[in-house]
């Protein structure tokens, strides 16, 4: 099984370890993983900012790079959602590209969804001593139905206990450029999320999207919390933290 890994631009730049963790998880489950060297971005920043042209150009580039894979996996609900849900809209006026996009969409998965529903793994390499709480990132949750999958995987990690926070499904306030354009609103939403994380009593918050990760970590540290870990689920499952 040839699996293409969409590293995602944020993982590439900000948290390379998440990419290696995803790679390890897929390889340890027996996948032949290919990481196209020229990949950059799925086009989401342009798409969400109203720049259809740039979204289209980057979507086309991704289609070319991954079309020979049996499956395509991203350690991000929002990037997987871009390919799986939004490419159809990006190419709505282009029958040829639309057909290619739909084919790719059907084979594209968010990482935890792929591990649970396609690979059906029953063991993970990682161990973790302590209590974690899980933040449901918006795109993964509402566009792709990623809810039970990460929890099923966390339950396989020896030593890990999950304590659900209240409002785990409420947006953390990231929203891409929203976080810069509306810094006050975004930070207030992040503050509410951090309060729920703290109230859960967990020593780490685990999640599946880089944007939320940077937002929540940045807010926790600004509030003076230097101990609560902010971890990508791939890192926890692979035992890289």
């Amino acid at each position: 099984m040839r699996v293409g890994l969409i590293v995602t631009c944020l993982v590439d730049l900000m948290r390379p370890g998440v990419g290696f963790a995803a790679l390890e998880l897929l390889e340890s489950a027996g996948c032949e993983v290919t990481v196209p060297a020229k990949q950059t971005c799925c086009g989401q920043p342009g798409w969400n900012s109203g720049d259809r042209g740039s979204a289209r150009a980057l979507a086309m580039k991704l289609l070319d790079e991954f079309s020979d894979c049996d499956y395509v996996v991203a350690p991000s609900g929002s990037c997987a959602g871009m390919v799986k849900v939004h490419y159809a809209d990006v190419f709505k006026d282009d029958e040829y590209q639309l057909a290619r996009a739909k084919k790719l969409a059907a084979r594209t998965h968010e990482l935890t969804d792929f591990l649970v529903n396609i690979l059906k793994i029953e063991r993970v390499p990682g161990t973790f001593a302590g209590t974690v709480t899980y933040h449901d990132s918006c795109s993964g949750l509402r566009e792709l139905g990623v809810k039970a999958q990460p929890r099923a995987l966390l339950a396989m990690v020896p030593g890990l206990r999950l304590a659900e926070m209240s409002e785990s499904e409420t947006c953390c306030g990231f929203g891409g450029s929203f976080a810069i354009k509306f810094g006050d609103i975004s930070a207030q939403m992040a503050a509410a999320k951090c309060a729920h994380i703290r109230a859960s009593g967990a020593s780490a918050v685990v999640l599946g999207d880089l944007g939320c990760m940077l937002n929540i970590e940045g807010r926790l540290r600004k509030e003076g919390d230097t101990t609560t870990q902010v971890l990508h689920i791939a890192e926890v499952l692979a035992g890289r933290k």
């Binding site: 590439d12 390379p16 060297a37 900012s49 109203g50 580039k61 918006c138 929203f178 006050d184 940045g218």
Partner: protein, 468 residues
């Protein structure tokens, strides 16, 4: 209503800084009650009902002219007069003309957002007709001279203390501090208005084409009085509120109260057809419908058409983390929250509400609860696209996007830029790994740090080194 959406950011920041506003927003309990009703109804059954409701609305809007014409024919046959208003100003003109014809001097009103679109209270007062809001929340807003901050809980921004102060000031009565007593005082005040008014003005939740009726969903009983006591009743509603049949109305009514207030059914639900008949013991002598366009028909056939499905339940704002942070007044026009962020630029012009389509994380919480499945994040995205096309975004933002897109399309350049970007960010992060000030992104760092990347370079570089 005069549009003030240009002040979105300032108003939002003020709302965030105001602990009382934050407390009021946190008290909004509709979302939890909705969840309970959906669970009782059965989640799968509710989903099927949403699909059916969206189909009903699509059928109405897909052939709007036909259903409106049908409505007019049947309503006229039943003795009502059907008038049209192309814009907000014409709404006022029609109402004032009716007041002149019938020599009306006092209007009691039940809740109507269209009345806000048309600034009807100002227009009525200028024409010598006293407007009295009879919905408790609207009554409070009228006393305070505030616009509503939520489409179904208009005075939710007011605390009980503020309401008590308002009543002392306007009623000249001793201060009360129990909600039940305050409500009783308002009822006592309103009673004389109910009995002395010669005009009743209501909105309309739905118009039913096959019977020429208007359906009203209310909770306080004031709607019944407004529509039956005065000798003239005017219904003001949007042209898109028409549905073909009573059966369609039933489909929508299974969803509206559950989605709005989390009630299985509202306390009052009226279907009104025609003025008082010869055998009737109550009801108005004259019934008018003013069907308002005010920008609605321009959405038909366009990318925003799905917005016309809206049945004004408020679920999108009840579930919106941005609305719950900034409050309804920040949005600056009649409709707040996600639906307002689509309707305001759609009705009032893209350039007059630049922040609204941007002021969303596109988290999707609104669209998954919308009873008529309006793809709100998609519509906001579509408005963002229009902003870019109309060159309404700041040059710096467009330049940044173009630069990003150019780099991302040229992997060799992207590799260099990201390599250097990671180094610069790491340096800025220092020993803590947290960046406290980012040039060009001060919005991020004003309320939080920006975590820096770790040592060792980008994934791309590390992976290439490993493969060698």
């Amino acid at each position: 209503m005069q549009i003030r959406s240009v002040h979105f950011k300032q108003r939002a920041s003020a709302a965030i800084a105001n602990p009382e506003t934050q407390k009021r927003m946190a008290s909004l309990g509709f979302a939890a009650r909705r969840a309970d009703r959906v669970a009782e109804f059965g989640a799968a059954k509710f989903e099927a009902q949403r699909a059916a409701a969206a189909a009903v609305r699509d059928r109405s809007i897909g052939d709007l002219a036909t259903w409106i014409e049908r409505f007019e024919t049947v309503a006229t046959r039943r003795g009502a007069t059907v008038l049209y208003a192309n814009n907000a100003k014409e709404v006022g003109e029609r109402v004032v003309a009716i007041c002149r014809d019938h020599r009306l001097t006092k209007a009691i009103k039940s809740k109507s957002m269209l009345s806000e679109e048309a600034d009807l209270n100002l227009v009525l007062a200028a024409a010598g007709v006293q407007p009295v809001e009879t919905d408790l929340g609207e009554y409070i807003c009228q006393l305070a001279d505030d616009p509503p901050s939520h489409i179904i809980a208009p005075a939710m921004h007011k605390s009980r203390d503020e309401i008590a102060d308002l009543f002392v000031k306007h009623h000249g009565t001793p201060r009360l501090d129990e909600a039940a007593l305050l409500t009783r005082e308002a009822r006592e005040r309103l009673r004389s208005h109910f009995l002395s008014a010669d005009l009743g003005i209501s909105g309309g939740n739905f118009l039913i084409a096959e019977t020429g009726s208007v359906a009203l969903v209310t909770n306080e009983g004031n709607g019944r009085m407004v529509t039956t006591l005065p000798r003239v009743h005017i219904v003001i509603t949007g042209i898109e509120k028409v549905v073909p049949t009573l059966e369609d109305l039933a489909t929508l009514m299974r969803l509206l109260p559950r989605s709005a207030t989390g009630q299985n059914i509202s306390n009052y639900f009226s279907v009104l057809t025609g003025p008082r008949g010869r055998a009737d013991t109550d009801g108005p002598e004259h019934l008018y419908f003013i069907l308002v366009d005010n920008g609605r028909s321009s959405l038909v056939g366009g990318e925003l058409q799905d917005m016309l499905r809206c049945i004004r339940c408020g679920a999108c704002m009840n579930h919106c983390p941005v609305y719950k942070t900034v409050g309804g007044h920040s949005y600056g026009w009649v409709y707040p929250g996600p639906m307002g962020s689509v309707l305001t630029p759609a009705f009032m012009g893209l350039a007059n509400a630049l922040d609204l389509p941007q002021a969303s994380t596109l988290c999707g919480a609104c669209s998954v609860v919308c009873p008529v499945k309006i793809p709100l994040p998609g519509l906001l995205r579509s408005l963002r696209e229009r902003q870019v096309q109309a060159r309404l975004r700041p040059g710096q933002e467009i330049f940044g996007l173009k630069l990003w897109s150019f780099a991302a399309r040229h992997p060799w350049l992207y590799a260099i830029l990201s390599r250097w970007g990671a180094r610069v960010l790491r340096l800025l992060g220092g020993s803590s790994g947290m960046i406290s000030r980012l040039p060009l992104a001060s919005g991020w760092t004003s309320g939080r740090y920006f975590p820096a990347p770790p040592r060792g370079g980008t994934f791309r570089d590390r992976y290439a080194a490993l493969r060698k």
